[in-house]
Symmetry: C2
Subunit: 211 residues, 2 copies
């Protein structure tokens, strides 16, 4: 839960963002999501060069999956730490992260893959109709794209916002070429605070539209 003090700081932050952002291409729910990413990173760049890109059905599918208590599969535990726990409990969304699973470590070492990538492959079934959230590892995003192409999984939404210098930008371009709703961004930036901000913003919209 958020205390009154915490809420007041958040409200003030959102006002400062509105005052300073200037021209940007977002409105409605999409702006609510982007604004929360800027709030979490203090980086206006997510509305500019490294701007956030939404598939036309991304918000609708994301809200639906949260409301219906579908799974959320994430690549790193850092995302879980930044998600609002009350929301997860109230909407009964199960968050899955296998990066530290000993079986994943063993398998990744054997196949010369990353742990994040191997963890995704193990959860094809749980991803069906759920939300996949990649905030760190481009290899995990590329694996999910490959799994979707193979037809072995069909998430409702892929949030693909990994960070880094090796294949991060490229993996996000590939994500935009498949036929599954996505939220992603241009370029190398990203990270677990961005990924968590997207999910927290979607939950806020769900709450506000049901109250």
């Amino acid at each position: 839960m958020q205390t009154r003090k915490g809420q007041s700081i958040e409200d003030q932050s959102m006002e400062i963002i509105e005052q300073e952002i200037g021209d940007h291409p977002y409105s409605g729910f999409e702006w609510q999501v982007v604004r929360r990413i800027i709030h979490s990173t203090a980086d206006f760049d997510f509305a500019r060069q490294n701007r956030i890109i939404f598939h036309k059905d991304a918000i609708k599918n994301g809200l639906g999956a949260l409301r219906e208590g579908k799974n959320i599969i994430v690549d790193v535990n850092g995302i879980i730490g930044l998600l609002n726990k009350q929301n997860l409990a109230d909407y009964k969304n199960n968050v899955i992260c296998d990066i530290s699973n000993p079986q994943v470590v063993k398998e990744a070492t054997k196949l010369n893959k990353t742990r994040a990538q191997t963890a995704m492959r193990m959860r094809a079934d749980e991803m069906n109709d759920g939300i996949v959230v990649i905030g760190n590892a481009p290899t995990a995003l590329l694996e999910v794209i490959q799994m979707i192409k193979e037809g072995i999984t069909k998430p409702k939404l892929v949030v693909g916002i990994p960070v880094g210098f090796v294949c991060a930008a490229e993996s996000k371009e590939d994500l935009q070429k498949i036929d599954i709703p996505y939220i992603t961004n241009k370029g190398r930036k990203g990270g677990s605070p961005c990924a968590a901000a997207i999910i927290n913003a979607l939950y806020k919209i769900v709450r506000e539209s049901s109250s």
Copy 2:
């Protein structure tokens, strides 16, 4: 543990950073820390406008506290999720985060404080000789500064790299005025990936200097 594939991607990333960074004011261990922050955020700005600032004893004290198995007190669980678990286990550093502690929630609500702030005040004893790591809440950093001024706690190192629009930049300026070693940065940017990168980089230096 890191797989061979994961290590190879990390090595490639570090090479790209070295190629692209250009002139910067860092060297030695300090550059290892800053480089890992850039690796975690894909944001060269941490070596420029929002640059990282080290107290002269910060690295020495940080390495000492990790080696000696001292406590690490963090403001948000997001940092814990991004710390290398093998290091924590091997060096027996206890990571403490009370933000979701029901007693903290109750107390914060009663006193009209933030949860992060209230959690810091509860852990004055555990902070002694340990490392305090603030990656999210400026209110938590301001509380730690106040506690140090009151003389009720004396950490070996304060990593103060909160993010945001309300008091984040100001809290970091205040941190530089007290007589405790710190690692911080200029401006609004920061976050749990930066905070975790600093601790992970320090662990890497500990390992390399003991092998």
